[in-house]
């Protein structure tokens, strides 16, 4: 209810909102916040009383245990590699999907709705759900994590690519169309050069997000450093945990930096 209201409101809203409408919207927002607070059973006082517990964990986690350093490097590589594959393999599928799902390049109505449908399904089912589905098919490990992340990424990238394609200046496209070029030539020689920098930027951003997702998938059996963190927690190995968290932070910052560097160097 809340989302459909929020989506429709701007289109229907008159130039100036009437007072009853303002009060109504205000009341709705307050209601949403209050009910959420109650539903999640928030007890802020527990943060205060539990503070000593947090301090205790931090104390027990120091100093970080360097012995996990070497095995965790291999695990980090698994986490990163899942993200890399789950970004680059989907690109192959998302580019044609993006062209079909953009109203200015779609070959026809059926292709448009088929592509939009595939994108919607891939996107709306979360990567973790996809991964769990694949676990039942191929067993635990990094492979189902990759599959789950990849399927979700196909949807996300497909949608972003379609939006980028719809923003392309159509004049050069028309110019090529009237030379008698065929649709594949128009797509590859007029549209792709125009959207490529945007597409690369979006894909690098996706790589960045996928590293984090890959980590989380590790918690549910996807392997990699996420799995090691989960194990350390379960076995109360807090010194190992601290070491793993440090490595995780370095890894994420590193990938972020790399993505930013690559994005800058293409623009």
């Amino acid at each position: 209810m809340a989302t459909s209201f929020a989506l429709r409101a701007p289109a229907r809203a008159p130039k100036r909102m009437s007072l009853p409408l303002k009060i109504g919207i205000g009341a709705l927002v307050v209601f949403l916040i209050v009910q959420a607070y109650i539903v999640i059973e928030a007890h802020p006082e527990d943060i205060i009383t539990g503070f000593s517990g947090i301090v205790d964990i931090v104390r027990r986690g120091l100093p970080p245990d360097p012995r996990v350093l070497l095995p965790s490097l291999k695990a980090s590589l698994v986490t990163i590699d899942v993200a890399i594959l789950a970004t680059f393999v989907p690109i192959i599928f998302s580019i044609p999907l993006g062209f079909m799902a953009a109203h200015n390049t779609t070959p026809g109505r059926w292709a448009y709705y088929a592509a939009r449908g595939i994108i919607a399904v891939c996107r709306t089912v979360p990567d973790i759900v996809w991964a769990l589905l694949f676990v039942t098919a191929v067993g635990l490990g990094a492979f189902p994590a990759f599959l789950g992340l990849a399927v979700h990424s196909v949807g996300v990238l497909g949608r972003l690519y379609a939006e980028a394609i719809e923003d392309v200046n159509m004049e050069p496209v028309h110019a090529l169309q009237v030379t008698g070029a065929n649709p594949a030539q128009i797509a590859s020689q007029a549209i792709l050069p125009a959207v490529l920098p945007t597409m690369i930027g979006l894909s690098l951003y996706r790589l960045d997000t996928n590293v984090r997702s890959s980590l989380v998938l590790g918690f549910v059996g996807g392997g990699g450093i996420g799995f090691q963190i989960q194990q350390a927690l379960a076995l109360f190995e807090y010194k190992q945990l601290t070491m793993l968290l440090i490595i995780m932070c370095v890894m994420i910052v590193g990938i972020e930096g790399l993505a930013v560097f690559l994005r800058k160097s293409i623009s």
Binding site: E171, P172, H174, A175, L176, Q177, V178, T179, G180, A181, N182, A184, Q185, S188, Q189, A190, P193, A194, L196, P197
Partner: protein, 268 residues
Amino acid sequence: MLTTLRERTSNGAAGDGASGDARLVVRDLSKTYPNGTAALAHVSFAARAGEVTVILGPNGSGKSTIVRCVVRLTDPDTGSITVGGRDIAALSGEGLRQARREIAVIFQNVSLVARRSALANVAAGCLGRKQGIETLFGLLPRDELSLATRLLERLSIVHLADQRADTLSGGQAQRVAVARALHQQPTVLLADEPVAALDPDASLEIMAVLQRLAREDGLAVVCVLHQMDIARKFADHVVGLRAGVVVIDERAARVDEKSLSSLYKRDA
């Protein structure tokens, strides 16, 4: 240097003074946009080989709609558009693609692919006749690339061959667009206000180039303009458009000042 003087090759010749054969024949073209705007009503005219046919009219008179209909970027409601014995208005799919190869278009705004070099943009003109899978990767036969270089030479911009299209000046970009149009090896060259975005000097240069292409290559050049003075200077034949209706269809030499300025009168 390019001459900007009009060569009146057809003046005083046989009959109506027309030279070549009719290459593009538009008959009874009408178009009403989905929003109800009646842009064209029963437009008919012909463009001859070796001539510059100028379509002249004020803003909103339907000039661009004619261009867009002739190459089927917009579908006309009625009428026929005959080029090389084919009715473009009746074609679709592969037939339309083939027929389009006959007509090259130069647009008002820069229509080059921004991130590609001038040379690559020119060479793209051959895609209508080169359909191999390698063209999808921007790979073109050597002879097409050398043709592109020769065309850049002919338009005196070969030194810009490797420059990215989005770094060219307006006049340079329009020359690249002309070169791409020629690379298509068309029989009809259609230009929609090719000089509207250019300064006066560059405008005269581009118009002189178009006129030379009609004279030297025997192209039927159809040039949409809204400036009377440029039309006077370069037209062999004038089609005057007012509110989607053809009100002048005359040899340039016979068009008088009065009928020209009546095109731009506020009241009907």
